[in-house]
Symmetry: none
Subunit: 226 residues, 2 copies
DNA sequence: CTTCTTTTTGACAATTTTGTGACAACGGAA
DNA sequence: TTCCGTTGTCACAAAATTGTCAAAAAGAAG
């Protein structure tokens, strides 16, 4: 059973939320106070956190930021009032995963919560090192060795390789790679991806023409196998 | 490829948007007129809809509300002028999924569009694997096995098979397949479908002449059974 | 400001997939 | 059975995608 913590000071809304989550078989924890909510969130592990922005004693933004800097990685969904600046909610500095503007539909909220949980479920354990074939990679130290020879990978090559290794076996499209590895502020051609694949292959594969690890899935993308 | 419909009457902005979306490999449809935009949105399936608020003949708010009451569930992102009331945009009655206030950055817009699409993708849980007879298919990994032999399906074959598996037991016409699997402005003839069926049968059936899973329904189409 | 490295782009060839047409085989109706 | 429209099958052409190289552009380091 999934645990949800709801921090919301409007009692009417809170009651509605609690009922809805219970109906969906969640275990529900609540707080109407910001600071208290924060300490519950920090202490008790819950699977998802619903945070109102306007709260007594400590607002939702601060709770969110604080939790993230405490290393809490629980998915957070923020509830913003109409006037509030939602732009900032999504930003990295804040660390919320989604937001909803009041008034919102409960159905939509539940849908988003489920989406977050699902995403959470296949969150990839951060890979710190990997071995495949005669290659050993340490992503933390940014070092790679093939056989007895040191490999000289660039930062982006490490990122890309890590992304693949963390998703071993899955087909990844070029566009997904551009979105996730390059990020949406850069928009290189999908051709760029091919070139990185090529150069990675030249380094980690014994024969770049007959790759054993970084495979091409024609018209779909690439996939990594150990 | 994702399809976006942009309804915006400012030609300069429109051009910028079109270029940016094309650069991101979207298929772009446009309208500068509200009423026309509405009917395009209603008729043509697109994956995401960008709506300006101020439009000739029918404003963005009304388009949005009307589409929702028509049962259209496409994600909608509204572009509001600075003075306009953003409160109303988000509300349930209206049914928009996100908004951006002019002037906005194209990058931000693209980022939000991608977020909406991703959220959308999360909502319909897609079938990720399937078993029938002695065949096992993993759509995410694009791998298929029959008995102990690996099957080598092309991307389109996977798509087609997935479409059938998700509609197990339903009779599907060739035209429906062309629309849904091949895409919106399906060029190919209905003959193409038969050929794909053939090649799928050769791969997944023990005897392509006596199919057990991909059945022909004469004059109607095909249907998949487990 | 140079020099070196990394990143991105563009061109072209190599490869794979996709679409088409011909013809045979088949199903159903008269 | 005979006929006509539908489907199965094959081989080939057209179209798209990917591999590869080299050079331009952008960044870092000195």
């Amino acid at each position: 059973m999934k645990r949800v913590l709801i921090v919301e000071d409007d009692k009417a809304i809170l009651r509605g939320l609690v009922d809805s989550f219970k109906a969906e078989h969640f275990e529900v924890e609540t707080s109407t106070d910001g600071e208290l909510g924060y300490s519950i969130a920090k202490k008790n592990k819950c699977d998802i956190l619903i945070l109102d922005v306007m709260l007594p004693r400590m607002n939702g933004f601060d709770i969110c930021r604080q939790l993230r800097s405490d290393g809490v990685k629980t998915p957070i969904l923020m509830l913003t009032g109409k006037g509030e600046e939602i732009d900032k909610v999504m930003g990295l500095e804040l660390g919320a995963d989604d937001y909803l503007t009041k008034p919102f539909s409960i159905k939509e909220l539940l849908a988003r919560v489920k989406a977050l949980l699902r995403r959470q479920a296949d969150i990839h354990t951060e890979m710190t090192e990997a071995t495949f074939g005669d290659v050993y990679v340490d992503f933390k130290k940014q070092e790679a060795v093939k056989g007895k020879r040191k490999l000289d990978l660039t930062a982006k090559e490490f990122q890309l390789l890590k992304y693949f290794v963390e998703r071993e076996g899955d087909v990844i499209s070029r566009n997904q790679l551009l979105d996730d590895v390059w990020g949406y502020q850069a928009m290189p051609t999908t051709r760029t991806v091919d070139n990185y694949i090529l150069s990675l292959r030249k380094k980690i594969e014994s024969s770049s023409a007959k790759p054993k690890h970084l495979l091409t899935i024609h018209t779909a993308g690439y996939k990594f196998v150990r």
